[in-house]
Symmetry: D3
Subunit: 256 residues, 6 copies
């Protein structure tokens, strides 16, 4: 499969190319961290709010918490989707995605050093063209770092309690071709769809692979894992660039 | 009260000045009409979706419908507000506002000429600094017009079924001063708060005045009504400019 | 428009006549204040309950609170309406109305003097023939006063913490005629529908005007405001009569 | 136990006396049958609505249906009870009571002769002083009969499809005394509480006996059943009187 | 009616025979009391959990509480029933049944001696062939006793706070025959259906009789009561046998 | 890590041993397929119901569907968990698990050959000691096959529309040791937790790996994947044995 990675896709990308990625920091003005992340036409607004308390199971533990919520705006998709509230319940897909985002971003932060406070990461999808959950994790990371910088600048934490970068990408096979960062059109024709979350050191945080339309072999799995690792390396570099930390901040990081 | 309209407010405006108003059309790519409206720091994304059916009470009537939904993103405000779904129900304020938006925008459109279809107007507040409902109406109008143009261009309606502009503004009195387009800080200190919706001909569509903190006299009411009319005239001009209709479209309008 | 105020309506009233108004105080036996108010065939049971605590945002403030709930009995209307609970949520209209009732009645009471307690005003519509919200406000006022008298008689407050009467009326235009206190039949044909809440001194508390079926001009607005003021003056007199305060009570009022 | 039936209770009744019973027919104007029933201070508004369709399980069967809903107004009781909707669900007690009312009233009517229509019996408790469910059944019967008369008068049914009277009473033992038609004060001290629903011929429709505070013997059971039968006989006579049928109606009944 | 009690039913039982009854104690391993009870094909898993607190209305009273929850597994019945959660609310029948189970089992226990703790009795129907509520009470009793023994063995209570056995059975008439312990097929054709809950001394705890399909006479009632008493005597003996208490436990009981 | 696979765990297993696995087919009598699966103390009741229709998105497609629901009985765990319905919503974890079960089992069946019908797979956890989702998939497969055999025996499908076995296992690392089929105690101390679903030919259907407590390296991932493949091979053999197909059935399979 690998040898066709150079063939062009509909939007001109090779199989291993990411879409155009951007991080617009400070997109809204009240959140302690705010980032509008774009993976091509997929746009997710990630706002991080600091709350000075933790859920009951952590009270008195000295440790902090990160929780995420994920929602599609009704017309973020090509057909309008009704709001959760009009059905009276959170849909299963959203619930699953926001649990994934929360777990992934908790891996990025030293929760002990964060102290007894909660970061709420609100991921609202403004426009959806596939890969919204991986965009939310990758952009959510940037907003989380800005919230940590805010805490550090305001003297609430002594160091910037970051453990590592966290980024995510979807990979999959479509009609026998191995592709990275699938757009909606590709995703809806994928035989296998895999979301991979990794840290900045090439370790895994989460792997979720699904044979949407049948099963996948051990060889296909290995190919997808390699491609994902390669794509995440690129995303980490883009995050680093967007975060644009100054020397003082890097030192505050180093001590953590 | 009127004579102090020229005194400066905290942000440098006179009492009768509007904040900086902008309409970013085509903000998202799937909606038939999409507009990010800004009234200063208040930013509302208005997406209009066309659905080719009407609610039960209009089936077979030949007439169309416009309905609105309104929601605050959790961190659109200075303190995070929980999502409706986390409480299991739409909050009363949102419900009231979306009914107001729906009524106001229905006044803008000739529903008979629209035919048996529904326009869903989703107003999602990205950032809230007072006046979100009036921004939603004013920007929702622009998105509705774009959806009507889309219907006309695609031949689904023979004319652009617009009756008139619709715009809205909040006016109020704060410590004895009469102010237009209140920001959140002003609004939270207002003695009287009034939302006025008018058409492009100086007629009223909706008036909602509340003595938040006591009562208001007949004189105060008249002053507020004048200021509102003046502000709405400006908003209509700004809408017209943003809509930037070409000759063919204006003609399609004229015939309606 | 005004000159046709003397023409008879279907039920024999002139345009400016109110329907037959009555206040049946002490309609139920447990509530601290209870009043069955009738505006013609519209009948609303207003029960006021005193709770010796306030919502979280007022705790420790020394100030009291008034909150209202509004509900239609299922067969208060000509066609049975399902209960809210059978749909699992409060309907939008009820939510909007009960917020209006609460705001209006809070304007009647000196909340500081009330002290840290809440008045719950339950407005249950027994029979609905238009104008249920204005009847609820006007009758709710009477029940609130009785609850205040109860508090004063039982020594819980040193004065009767009343600021002013509060009464409400609907006015509107139907086929070009200006009408006060619209019954359901008139209301459903109204071009403009306006609810006005005023105090006993001719000041406004709340104005809500809606062009149900189009727009309304500045002239029409002024006519409706005059008619409303005139009608509310009558309602205040009727309330005063129904309340039938004795000298001691009037004095307790005076000192407030 | 029986021999103390003549001793006076707090309100002056003997053990076997009912409270003052009244049926106010036509209490509201829209319902096809409407009755405000009073058992002393317990007041229940029973409104019957005719719907020209049946639940899915009866469609095409030719048979009709009767269903009931039961609700306490918030301040019908000495302490305000929150509305079901504020908790988001029907409480268990209300659900149980409305199922009982529905079953009981279905026994009164020949559902085949009723035809494919549903009677909705809304029982709203205006004031509660014990025995609300038995009052609702007894008064609901009167409202159902009026709805059947309405159907017959309007020619929708050829006969008045009534099978028998239905009435209900609570009996119980309080500190060793056998009492009928318990008020709230008595009910809350009852050792045994029994609700009995019977027809006009002395047959049982429903028996629900509960040892609230321990158990009850076979002898106690027999005493309670006798007292209930005696009380229901009185209630049936009062219903008959209230219904005040004319000769034509009695004949329409006879033919059924 | 009695004389046909010896005729065989479809499954070979006489009218007064119970189905095969079994109690499988310790069916699950975590609950303080656990019993899978079978009445023929009806199987209910009763798990009792001890919680070291009581509902608000008992706090500080020194008294304990027993509460029950009842639910059908979706395919416990011949046609799959949707889960409550898929409709968003507990169905009325389940709510009514779990209230009955709770009341019945509270009669078995000396709540003062239980102390301020709650027994949660979860009755989950694995397979339903009629009589699930009576099986739940009868088997729930066994699980409650095991939870009480656990509390006594672990020294949390000084005696086993049992007042009496509690067992329940359904009786009814089907086509004129008097039957005990009706299976679903019989139950669905019953003219009268009666659930009787009694203690080990022949006293009543609860009686619920319903004329499902018409009314029932005094004679029928007496026959059903006799048959129920006879059946419950058998169930109590079976419970005693299943509980298999040793001498020490019987003594701990005796002292209570 | 692999070399410590032979060391004993607390329950005497080596790292690669499964717990005692059993499949009790026909556990309940109404479901078309029913299997109580045990993975040690973890017991899940899997009932499959056939419904002769499909969800809207498949109507007219000729293709069938499989959907799953998953729920914990309240006292399946060491501490009682409240029912979903008492909170009014399905919890996020259950929702995520039932989506996984549904996807996994759909991979086992030829949905075209199944025809326009739905298999509902209800997985109710009777007792939970870790690995409930993998037990539900593995046991659910057995119940699904029995439902397919039922359809084939009753002539509703011409072949048994099975594509392959589907089984699942959890693997993970606990304090540096690689373990298969983790019990709750192990799972709660796992650094990495991975659920793997495979078919009978060694292909993947779903992989979900989570660094619960940090991250995991590429080497660890490969070790876990090998162990999972090995365990699933054993589970498939056990399923085959439990299913005990006769020659006729195997032939019906072969033709599919």
């Amino acid at each position: 499969m690998k040898n066709n990675l150079l063939e062009k896709r509909e939007d001109g990308r090779s199989g291993s190319d990411l879409r155009e990625i951007s991080f617009e920091r400070g997109y809204t003005c009240y959140a302690e961290g705010s980032c509008l992340v774009s993976f091509g036409k997929t746009k997710v607004l990630c706002n991080v709010s600091v709350e000075e308390k933790v859920p009951p199971f952590l009270r008195g533990s000295g440790s902090g918490w990160i929780t995420a919520e994920y929602s599609l705006l009704p017309r973020s998709t090509s057909t309008r989707v009704p709001r959760d509230i009009s059905k009276g319940r959170l849909n299963g897909r959203s619930s699953e995605i926001q649990r994934l985002i929360g777990r992934s971003l908790r891996a990025a932060v030293d929760l002990e050093q964060l102290g007894e406070r909660t970061l709420w990461v609100d991921c609202d999808v403004i426009q959806a063209d596939g890969g919204t959950r991986t965009a939310a994790i990758t952009g959510g990371f940037v907003a989380v770092v800005d919230a940590l910088r805010y805490l550090w600048r305001s003297g609430k934490v002594g160091v910037i309690p970051l453990r590592s970068h966290v980024a995510a990408v979807s990979v999959g096979t479509v009609k026998g071709r191995l592709l990275s960062d699938l757009c909606y059109q590709e995703d809806s024709h994928a035989d296998v769809d895999m979301n991979v979350v990794m840290d900045g050191n090439g370790n895994y945080i989460e792997i979720q692979g699904t044979g949407e339309n049948g099963v996948f072999s051990k060889g296909e799995l290995q190919d997808m894992l390699s491609l994902a690792a390669n794509s995440i390396e690129k995303l980490v570099a883009l995050q680093e660039n967007a975060l644009d930390m100054d020397g003082e901040e890097l030192e505050a990081l180093a001590s953590s």
